[in-house]
């Protein structure tokens, strides 16, 4: 576990240097986007990898977060930070209300129910024209400013978002290290037995659901504040699937899995641009290969490498 914290510090330093290493603005934007997605996938991993519950509708919470801050700042002229807090509160309440009945379901049924929720939100975003602007979306969303400090350029947004990602990651590591983490693993491993120990499994699942939804809402709000324009498309069903894919490819139930998966799935399409129209085919092929050869996710590659290196070091002594 101590090594985990060292790793966190190392990653943070690396991420701090990234903006100066990137040759252009476009790549910085992608780095920001990967940070935003990471906020969602870290939360989704809590739900999927630790509490063992699937959600095929997390793009909806992402969308609600984005649309709420946009509507509150544009239509109601709220201050950006207050709107951010309001949107997180709203997402939390919605997740709490729908989580109650939905989390009684298991397996495929839970997948279907969350998927249905995602579709409903998608339709609402398209149809509630007066509020959401329909398929055209909303533009002229203000930049986030906190106590007079405006996150107006990409550099500032980058540091804000990645700082938050590292903070959330740190909080997740602390949580998983203690009693709470054990309880989550217990629920995942044997729900009935967990209950015989007095673990309130439904409350725990509910907590994971709400936390992951609020993180997705937070990501959505930052998305709106950094792009200043939103439309329903990025919050559609496809993106929910994309999020689950990121967590699974990275390695679910591992603290670093979602970050690795998100970074990979964010970067790979850029690297494949050279293949022109064939990029989708290569992308699909890559995913298939990863799932076949690294069923525990790409993060297992990391553990394998660390193991090799430490053995080599020991052997050399």
């Amino acid at each position: 576990m101590k090594r985990q914290y060292q790793f966190l510090i190392a990653i943070s330093i690396l991420l701090f240097l990234v903006p100066w290493m990137l040759p252009n603005r476009y790549l910085l934007n992608i780095a920001v986007l990967i940070g935003i997605y990471s906020l969602i996938t870290i939360g989704l991993n809590l739900l999927l990898g630790y509490a063992g519950q699937i959600s095929m509708g997390h793009a909806a919470f992402y969308g609600i977060g984005a649309y709420t801050v946009s509507i509150l700042t544009i239509h109601f002229k709220w201050d950006t930070f207050t709107a951010l807090c309001g949107s997180l509160l709203l997402v939390g309440i919605i997740a709490w209300i729908i989580g109650k009945p939905i989390l009684r379901l298991k397996g495929h049924y839970l997948a279907m129910a969350t998927l249905g929720f995602g579709l409903i939100v998608e339709i609402l975003l398209n149809e509630m024209m007066e509020l959401t602007g329909g398929p055209q979306g909303l533009s002229n969303i203000p930049k986030l400013s906190i106590l007079g400090f405006s996150f107006s350029d990409d550099f500032r947004i980058y540091f804000l978002i990645w700082g938050l990602v590292m903070l959330v990651q740190w909080m997740m590591m602390n949580m998983m290290r203690g009693k709470m983490g054990r309880a989550f693993l217990a629920v995942h491993s044997n729900e009935l037995a967990a209950e015989t120990l007095g673990i309130n499994t439904s409350a725990l699942k509910q907590a994971a659901f709400v936390i992951s939804a609020v993180l997705a809402g937070l990501a959505g709000a930052f998305y709106a504040y950094s792009l200043n324009y939103i439309s329903p498309e990025p919050f559609a069903f496809n993106f929910s699937i994309m999020l689950v894919t990121m967590v699974v490819i990275g390695g679910m139930g591992n603290l670093w899995g979602p970050l690795i998966g998100t970074a990979l799935l964010g970067i790979i399409p850029e690297l494949l641009r050279g293949f022109k129209n064939f990029d989708i085919a290569f992308y699909g092929l890559l995913l298939i290969l990863i799932v076949i050869y690294m069923p525990k996710g790409v993060v297992s590659l990391l553990y394998w490498a660390v193991d090799k290196v430490s053995k080599a070091v020991k052997g050399g002594q």
Binding site: R182, A183, L185, L192, A193, E195, T196, L197
Partner: protein
């Protein structure tokens, strides 16, 4: 300590428990024996608050727990070792044991005293099952059946139960290992834990317990002290078999 009166329960249309009366007094080991499908496990699940639509009476230390939540029931001092042991396979021995103390660690501001007490109980588990101390970091899934049963009992003990429910602890274990497990149950009982033991191995169970109940088709058909049941003609024929008569 535990008082069950005219308890009925079932799954959907199927009635499994049909008017169960059963009592466990403080300090006792009581065993419930009977064939497969008689309703033994259902009764335990009912006590733990896992079943819907229970009718009848379940009192624990005078308090009605018929409709209580499992969490509350565990908090009041009942702990169960489920039939399949219900261990968390990928987690280590120490993680499994600490999960037993989950409710005791609940809430903020736990004093050093509380933590010291939990540590002391952990030591007691190691006194009971010394082998576990050398396996602390090992995933429970890699242990032998007997050692897994030890972890399961140790984990249940970590919640500091007044009443321990054991569901077929001898299942799938070698005779020598069963002996060790049963000896540990006796030690726990002498240290003040009341035990309700569900068993198919009637001979062993009756030798361990003070009193016993025989359940068939969801009804208690016979009850008495262990000695009475061991010598009862029907019990001998149905559950103890020839080996007992020979011995």
């Amino acid at each position: 300590m535990l008082e069950i009166g005219n308890l009925n329960a079932g799954y959907g249309q199927v009635e499994v428990l049909k008017g169960i009366d059963l009592e466990v007094r403080e300090g006792e080991i009581v065993t419930l024996i009977g064939p497969n499908g008689a309703g033994k496990t259902t009764l335990l699940l009912g006590i733990m608050g896992f079943l819907n639509g229970l009718r009848g009476k379940i009192l624990f230390r005078g308090q009605d727990i018929l409709h209580a939540e499992t969490e509350a029931i565990v908090g009041m001092g009942i702990s169960m070792v489920p039939e399949d042991r219900g261990l968390f396979g990928p987690l280590s021995v120490s993680e499994n044991l600490m999960l037993g103390a989950y409710l005791r660690l609940q809430g903020k501001g736990k004093s050093k005293e509380d933590k010291a007490k939990i540590q002391a109980d952990l030591e007691e588990v190691f006194n009971l099952f010394p082998i576990l101390k050398s396996r602390l970091k090992q995933p429970v899934g890699t242990l032998s059946g007997g050692q897994q049963q030890m972890v399961a009992i140790g984990r249940a003990f970590m919640s500091k139960p007044r009443l321990l429910l054991l569901d077929e602890p001898s299942l799938g274990l070698a005779p020598l290992v069963i002996k060790e497990i049963f000896k540990a149950v006796t030690v726990l009982n002498q240290n003040g834990v009341t035990v309700l033991l569900v068993e198919q191995n009637a001979n062993l169970a009756l030798k361990l317990a003070h009193r016993g109940y025989v359940i068939e088709n969801g009804r208690i058909v016979l009850t008495g002290t262990s000695a009475e049941l061991l010598n009862h003609q029907e019990v001998k024929q149905a559950y103890l078999g020839k080996s007992h008569e020979a011995g």
